[in-house]
């Protein structure tokens, strides 16, 4: 497998600790290019921590990460990021278009200002997420789903190769959920790799073709059909998981 498809993301021995207790521990992960991968696990399993550590946003206790074979510092322009919606103050005085344009600041570099071209790119992305009629809306007036789509559009303008999305499906309306799924498939068609922290076990197999089960350590990682089994889910969540599936997978887990 690894010989044919290049690894979009390769993580080795990654450990992050808070006050000597590992939040994620000895993570080894290889994500082939072009997959839609769900990162699934119970609360406190370190899903967001994994993403933040991979993106160098929090200090690592150990481990290395490479994107297409390069360390993060050289691969930044390949990486797109959708943080958790709750991580910012939505009463910040700015508009939807402005937030989406922020996705292009990294490419602009120091001192240069966004202009006409950046505006057009932002409008294009806003159209993709169905927010074209809200471009001038103040972000304080957005619904939760619209906030999420704004963040998604901001990541789209980054035109990255590999996307990290932290709980994009958390508490959004049905329309936003559909819009995100549509975007995920478009990204896959364009050969992008997408890693999504996901909570809803019911939709994992519908939305994703690759799964990583995480509970501080990686329980299993690979194609959804092989990895997303009730046995692995039990290993991840403990005996508590009440997720029932069709007989096939149950059999595979037994």
């Amino acid at each position: 497998m690894n010989d044919r498809v290049p690894l979009a993301l390769s993580v080795e021995d990654l450990t992050v600790a808070y006050h000597s207790k590992p939040a994620i521990w000895d993570i080894d992960l290889g994500v082939p290019e072009g997959v839609l991968m769900a990162i699934v696990g119970p609360n406190g399993a370190g899903k967001s921590t994994l993403i933040k550590a991979v993106l160098n946003l929090i200090p690592r206790a150990a481990g290395t990460v490479s994107f297409y074979g390069s360390p993060y510092e050289q691969a930044r322009s390949l990486v797109g990021y959708v943080p958790q919606r709750g991580s910012v103050d939505w009463d910040f005085p700015t508009s939807v278009l402005d937030v989406v344009t922020m996705g292009l600041y990294g490419k602009l570099g120091w001192l240069r200002r966004p202009g006409r071209r950046e505006r057009d790119l932002a409008l294009f992305a806003l159209n993709q997420v169905g927010l074209l009629d809200l471009v001038d809306r103040q972000i304080s007036q957005l619904s939760g789903g619209q906030q999420q789509r704004t963040f998604l559009a901001r990541a789209l303008v980054q035109d990255a190769q590999i996307y990290f999305m932290d709980e994009p499906f958390a508490a959004v309306d049905a329309i936003t959920e559909r819009a995100i799924v549509k975007i995920l498939h478009q990204l896959k068609e364009r050969g992008k790799t997408v890693l999504v922290v996901h909570h809803d076990l019911q939709t994992v197999e519908d939305y994703f073709d690759w799964v990583t089960l995480l509970n501080v350590e990686v329980v299993a990682s690979g194609p959804a059909a092989e990895v997303f089994t009730s046995g692995n889910l039990q290993k991840t969540y403990g005996g508590r998981v009440s997720y029932l599936h069709d007989g096939q997978v149950l059999a595979a887990g037994d």
């Binding site: 160098n56 990021y81 910040f92 005085p93 700015t94 508009s95 600041y105 309306d173 559909r178």
Partner: protein, 444 residues
């Protein structure tokens, strides 16, 4: 595009700016008449100095407010005091030297707070509280010591505690203007970075921006703004001059650039007017005077500003409850008549009021004056226009249901489901047509 008329928001900002300029101009004769201010050369210097300081601290203060670091400003300004004292002991009473000392002390406090937050489990308020108190205590002790030195007691360092506008001279204004211009220029140059880091630090970091460096630069600019204002507002109340203009400006606008410009204008007003009033007599401390003026701006903005102001929101709540009362009353009537036969069926007053009490009365009154219902005896009857309106409303809800079911299959534009709006006002006509076609397929 450029010819497009100004948005309501832009107009509001210009209105606020114009208002404050008019107020400022009106203050000149009023001040003369009320406080007997004579616009001597000294007073003009003080007014200019106060205004320039207000511009700088107002503009930078916006970022302190937006980063939720208002109280950080307070800690940093208190922390400047020992720096003033040490600078005086080492190098004498030159203002530039004193301010450099203040800046260094304040900046060390800033780094110390970050270090505490980074290496211990202290929370931000605890770290700021402990640094504020200890630095300030050190400053007071040093000032007491300086007072005891013969000759040094004349230095008037205690003006840094509450501020004293009358002490400002022309060379001070030049110094403040020069440094202030550099600060504002830096703000303009790194505008994009400051905005990004203030809004979303994580995203900025993931984009390769050196968040630590940008944060430090922005905090340093805030420290400089604080230090420049110290001799005017004093270490205790400088935080007010820093954050009040930003808080007031935030009420009037939803754009960061407008907020910063407006805060600068508000700051100039508060700084200028406050300084001039206090310059009447050297015994009037300037800090409190400036804060009184700045607080009036905050109060007026919180009350009056369209969009966020208290008056505005209570008015909007009133309009909302009227609109929803009307919508609900019409729906209740229509539901009743449908379940009791023809649309012309009379609805007993007791029934309809029983559903929504006061809200029902409010709704019925509106329907009555709009001619959608008539009252005969003690029962209500929908008029023809009323029936038509109720049908439209019911039909809109039906289309909203279909939209939820089929938006994906029909590839309709993505909308927020604002079901209280008439769907025909938010979806284009061809999309409505497609939904109508679905009604005929599913007559249910």
């Amino acid at each position: 595009m450029k010819l497009k008329s100004m948005s309501a928001e832009d107009k509001r900002v210009w209105l606020a700016i114009a208002g404050i300029v008019v107020l400022g101009i009106c203050f000149l004769p009023i001040g003369q008449w009320l406080f007997g201010i004579r616009y001597t050369y000294t007073v003009r210097v003080v007014a200019l100095g106060g205004s320039i300081l207000g511009v700088i601290s107002g503009a930078l203060g916006c970022f302190a407010v937006l980063r939720r670091e208002s109280l950080m400003g307070d800690a940093l300004s208190h922390a400047a005091l020992p720096g003033v004292a040490v600078a005086f002991l080492l190098a004498g009473r030159d203002l530039g030297v004193l301010l450099i000392g203040a800046g260094i002390a304040s900046w060390i406090a800033l780094r110390f707070i970050s270090a505490l937050l980074g290496t211990t489990r202290l929370k931000q308020d605890a770290a700021m509280g402990i640094v504020l108190a200890s630095w300030f205590a050190g400053g007071i002790a040093l000032l007491a010591y300086i007072q005891s030195i013969p000759d040094a007691s004349q230095a008037g360092l205690d003006r840094f505690i509450f501020g004293q506008a009358a002490a400002i001279i022309e060379s001070d204004v030049l110094l403040i203007s020069g440094v202030g211009a550099a600060v504002l220029l830096t703000l303009a140059l790194f505008w994009k970075e400051f905005k990004l880091v203030t809004f979303d630090m994580g995203f900025a970091g993931a984009n390769g921006f050196q968040v630590g460096l940008i944060n430090t630069l922005l905090s340093t600019l805030i420290v400089i703004a604080i230090v420049l204002g110290l001799q005017l507002a004093g270490v205790i109340l400088m935080v007010g001059m820093l954050i009040a203009p930003g808080i007031a400006a935030r009420q009037w606008t939803q754009k960061l650039n407008h907020m910063v410009i407006l805060a600068a204008v508000f700051g100039a007003f508060a700084g200028g007017v406050g300084a001039v009033i206090s310059a009447i007599d050297a015994d009037i401390p300037t800090g409190p005077m400036i804060i009184v003026v700045a607080f009036s701006l905050v109060l007026a903005s919180i009350t009056l500003a369209p969009g966020r102001g208290l008056l505005w929101s209570s008015w909007r709540r009133r309009l909302d409850s009227r609109r929803f009362a009307r919508q609900n009353a019409l729906r209740d009537l229509y539901r009743y008549v449908l379940s009791h036969g023809s649309p012309g069926t009379p609805v007993p007053d007791a029934f309809i009021r029983g559903i929504g009490d006061r809200s029902a009365a409010l709704g019925l009154a509106q329907l009555l004056s709009a001619g959608l219902v008539e009252l005969t005896g003690d029962s209500w009857r929908l008029t023809d226009t009323g029936i038509e309106a109720a049908r439209r409303d019911a039909h809109s809800l039906q289309l909203w249901d279909l939209y939820r079911l089929y938006a994906d299959d029909l590839d309709l534009p993505l909308l927020g489901e604002d079901r209280h709006l008439d769907i025909r006002d938010v979806l284009p006509a061809d999309a409505i047509g497609q939904l109508e076609a679905m009604t005929e397929q599913r007559p249910n």
